[in-house]
Amino acid sequence: MIVYENVTKKYGDVTVVDNLSLTIDDGEFLVLIGPSGCGKTTTLKMLNRLIKYDEGNIYIDDSNIKEINPVELRRNIGYVIQQIGLFPNMTIEQNISVVPSLLKWSKEKQHKRVRELLEIADLSYEENAHKYPRELSGGQQQRIGVLRAIAAGPPVVLMDEPFGALDPITRDILQDELKALNKKLHKTIIFVTHDMGEAVKMADRIVFMNEGKVLQAASPEEMLENPAHPMISRFMGKLSYSRSGNDLICADVMRLKVLTVPETKKTLECIELMKQREIDSVIVVDKNNKYKGRANIEDIMEHGKPGEPIIKMVKLDTPSVMVNTNAKDAFDHLIATNIDYLAVLNRDKTVAGIITKTSMTKSLASVVWGDDNDYND
């Protein structure tokens, strides 16, 4: 078990970690996340004493790490960094056995361990052990980086944005591999990232930090459902389910491209336009582009006279909503009245867009399934 007890770290006047208390269970996959400068990396590096802390205590299994020789301490904690940091002057085998050799394992034991680890990672010993780091791809190198960290069997592994420099596909693969690996090994892993998707995917528990403090520590599920702070919601972005609820406004769900016609336009012209676009109504605006109402093709066909301005056909009471109206209200309105669309107006009454049932559904879908496509067509 790892316990941070009222830990504070300052650089000059700036407090980067502020009276932090945190308990990490054995075998837990803990992800530290937050905006840059929030203290997540500092929190991580204090644990293997790469960074000294000013106040408080950190315990690993009841021993205060201040009382452990830092070199000894680090040999018992795995460490993986974003820059990978494989030693270019050493072969893959030598890199993996860095810590075992520091711990003075016998040559045979080291060799056996390297074979075993490469096997776990599905890498052939013959093909890889005698290569040098630069002969491997970035993804391969970081696989070795992870193996090096766990080579001597440390119970705790620290990972500082380990996959941050990899391309998205490789990152995804390595995330899966790490998850699978830890199912077998049950290490306590403390993992720093700024990618909420990665955090949700990997973590047993996410600790969200800002300005050196913990804003929320919760399971991914819990954090997605009940983000404790607007900043966390923002970090969640499209991952968050919360925006499917009450946060959405009309601007989020409307279609942007709309056909508007000036009120002076003649009826026949309008019919022609509607036929071309295969639509059955137009939005009518005055000379200042302010919303007047809408005209249906049926009404025009039935009551309209050729050469009359379209304004005569406009139903002035046609419903409209404002851009900042809650999307749910618009949705209710759309369902209740059974009209095919709602005009969305800016504050100055100009037309911002329309909400159709389709645009609403697509927006909701993108929120629910986290799809980044922009459906505003």
């Binding site: 680090r74 494989l86 072969t91 002969e135």
Partner: protein, 211 residues
Amino acid sequence: MTSFLDKYGDMLLKASLVHLQYVLTSVGIAFVIALIVGILLSRAPNISRAVIPLLGIFQTIPGLIFIGVLFIYLGIKPITVLVALTIYAIFPILKNTYTGIIGVDPSLKEAAKGCGMSDMQILFKVELPMAMNPIISGLRMATIYTVSWAVLAAMIGLGGLGEFVYRGIETNNQVLIIGGAIPSAIIALGLGYLIDYVHKKITPRGLQGGA
């Protein structure tokens, strides 16, 4: 040619050995001193910021001056030449050792620290191997310059191949000039190649080519 060798062969061999001795001794001592001081400087960035530019300036002082100054203080003794050449040879090695170590990617040092290496282990397992290229090129530069300046040992009458060149120039004797110039050129080229060869041998494949 044969008559030249008959006449000067023994002398030439002896002079070459003296020359080689001057070079190897001074460069050897300089290498050890420069390496240690370079490592220490890399640990004291504040001092180094002031010291390193000064080293660059001292490096521009011709070796002749070191020989001259020490000659005035120490007189005509082999130690004069040795000390002068040693001081001269320290600069390029020291400067390259320092810049080499400072230039090691900080993430490698952090990884090494994170693996639980002690400062000494980081130095010997990571920093020095990574700084090998500049250190060895500094050594090569120092060696070649030292062969060149050692020719001047003759100026204060302390032998070496310079004696041939020097006397040849003084007396306008072409045979003597060539007799001294060619072996000294061979020594310089030979040592240069030897260093290149050893360098290549001891550089792991992972650091060859670029890096």
